[in-house]
Structures are given as C-alpha cells and as structure tokens.
C-alpha cells in the first residue's frame, strides 16, 4: 500500500493522551518571552489571569505519530502550528491532551512534492471543558 493511503488510514484515530499541569511561574515566563504586557497574562493577581492564547502549543505528547504509522520518506521539517482557543488555560488546572492525526495531504511547490501530516492535539481541562486545539503540520519532502 502506498504511504499516503496507509497514512490516511490513521486519520481521526486518537493514539495518545497526555496530561499537563499549568504552573503559574511557567505561564508567566512564557508570557514574558512573548513580550506580553496585558495584565490578564502577566499579573497573577488579575481576576482573569490565564496563559497566553498560544501557550498550549508548547506541549508535546508522548508520541508525535502512532506507533505503527508508516515510516515517511524524505526530509522532514516543521510546517508550523495553528492554535484555536476555546477557553482560558488557568494556573493550577490540569490539561488533558488528546492526540490524533487530523489530516494527511500532498501538495507540490517550487521545491517539488511534499506530504503534510497534521498532528492535532485537543486540550480539555479537568472539568471537561475544551481549552484549545493545536494543529501541528509535519512536512516530508521527497529527496
């Protein structure tokens, strides 16, 4: 079976669950590194203190691809992440990240054919509230 067909067979299947603690000091350090000045992100005393919207993009699960996912060919590089925020990520919360392959697609560009594997991590807090969705595009370029 061709790589693309085999890979597409994994789309939509959850393959990893990881938990992350939201630590105030780490949230502040991240906000500072982003250059944030909004008190909601840099003042723990603010009534709406929370992590900056892109915070969950820093979390990586135990696996980036399913264990028996077909081995992609070619050179790999990071195609970037898209974060969709659904609710606040608050200090002291536990986030549960559910990983699945959201999409596998191909395209051609100036440098030739590429395969995009979209790893989606959906985060909910301990109360089951959806916090964010992070789509990470992993690109494989044929040699």
């Amino acid at each position: 079976m061709a790589f693309i067909d085999e890979a597409r067979g994994w789309v939509g299947k959850e393959f990893d669950t990881t938990e992350f603690e939201l630590v105030e000091a780490e949230m502040l350090a991240f906000a500072e590194a982003c250059g944030e000045t909004d008190p909601r992100f840099v003042d723990p005393g603010h009534p709406e203190f929370q992590a900056v919207p892109t915070y969950t993009a820093r979390f990586v699960g135990r696996r980036t691809l399913p264990e028996s996912f077909p081995r992609p060919h070619g050179r790999g590089f990071d195609g970037g992440k898209t974060v969709t925020v659904h609710g606040p990520a608050c200090a002291g919360d536990t986030l549960i990240g559910h990983s699945k392959i959201a999409e596998v697609y191909q395209k051609t560009g100036r440098s030739g054919p590429m395969t995009f594997i979209v790893h989606r991590m959906e985060f909910e807090n301990q109360q089951g509230e959806k916090v964010s969705v992070v789509d990470w595009r992993m690109v494989r370029q044929e040699d």
Partner: protein, 209 residues
C-alpha cells in the same frame, strides 16, 4: 472591470487571510480592483457564502479552484458538480490535458498559473515534454513571482499565442490585488467570468513595484 483572479483565504492550508479582511484592506487602501476570485488549493469551497460581504463592501467575490497537474498548477473557473466528478481536485498529479478538456466540457475555463515558477509552472514542463493542446490562457502576472518568472510566462504566451491574465496569488491580506485582470465588460457572476475569459477581451495588469 478589474478582478484579481487568483487569491487564497484561510480555507487553503497555507492561506492566512480571512475574506472579510481582504475586503477591508481593499477599501481602506483603495486597491483598484472591483472584486476577486478565491481559488483555494486542491478543493472547491462550496460552504462559504460571501454575499453579505459583497453587499457590505461593494465587491464581487467569486469562487474557483487551484488544482495540481503534471504540468504544474492550474486555475479553474466555473466549477460545478460535473467538473468535480470529472477529476479529483485533491490530487497532485492530474494530467493537464484531461483537466483542460474536462473543464471545458463542463462549462468552465482552465488557466495554468505562475507558468514561470520552477516545478509547478508550465514553462519548465514545456521545455522537458513539449506543449499541451488546449491551453489558450495562462497567468502572465502572478503576485508571488520571483524575478524573471513573469517574463518567462509572457515569453511563453507570446510564443504560443496564449492570452494572459493576472492574479495576486495572495495568501496574506496585504497582497490582494497587486496583480489582476482588466475586462472590457461587466462581470456579475461566475458565468459572466467564464464567458469573458472564453470570448471577451481582457488584459493582465500589475501594480507590483
């Protein structure tokens, strides 16, 4: 009437611009176009309805697609169900001759875009494998072209007698309308656009500095 015939929104995997933001930019910056065509990569967006934005901003917003063939990328206008059944928009190796033939049979127009671009443009493939019958129009001004690429496209058009269109290939808000196509007639919908491309008079225009 001037239309940007090649633009991408967030519906494309690499698009970063929302359609509403394109409209705001066009009006705020007085970009000299009357509308644009959303040509999302490897798909036809049949979900989005931009009529409210058309009314609010006084712009024509049409939809087409950019598909991928063995001779590079191709804009298709006049997309309908028959066309979507005739070939797989998500494929990256569609035979160009088939795309042109089927698009025309289904009432549309196929236009190879950014011909001067390496790998995904017509020029390089013509050099290696020769010309393809059925091509009548190519994109001679593309907003994403690097130095020499539009010149190569124009040279190809001159050599084969192709007519030329222009499109920004915008993926970012600030790029919308930097290349476009001027028509000699009013275009109100996709049918008008297809008719104008098939029989009308038009020219590619650019405001690239």
């Amino acid at each position: 009437m001037i239309l940007d015939l090649h633009a991408h929104s967030v519906k494309s995997d690499d698009g970063r611009a929302r359609v509403e933001t394109y409209c705001q930019w066009i009006r705020k910056r007085q970009v000299p176009i009357d509308g644009f065509v959303l040509t999302e990569h490897r798909q036809f967006d049949d979900e989005s309805d931009y009529r409210a934005l058309e009314d609010e901003f006084g712009l024509l917003i049409l939809k087409g697609s950019e598909v991928e063939t063995d001779y590079g990328h191709v804009l298709v206008f006049g997309v309908n169900e028959a066309m979507r059944s005739a070939y797989d928009f998500s494929a990256i190796d569609l035979p160009l001759a088939r795309v042109i033939e089927k698009t025309e049979q289904c009432g549309g127009v196929a236009v190879p875009c950014h011909p001067g671009r390496p790998t995904v443009g017509l020029c390089a493939h013509y050099e290696q494998r020769g010309a393809v019958d059925g091509v009548e129009i190519i994109e001679v001004h593309n907003g994403g072209s690097r130095a020499g690429e539009d010149e190569a496209a124009q040279h190809l058009a001159d050599r084969h007698g192709y007519r030329g269109i222009g499109g920004s290939d915008a993926h970012l808000v600030s790029k919308i309308g930097i290349c476009a196509t001027r028509f000699d007639r009013e275009i109100r919908d996709v049918d008008d656009l297809v008719g104008a491309l098939r029989k009308g008079s038009f020219e590619a225009v650019t405001w690239r500095s």
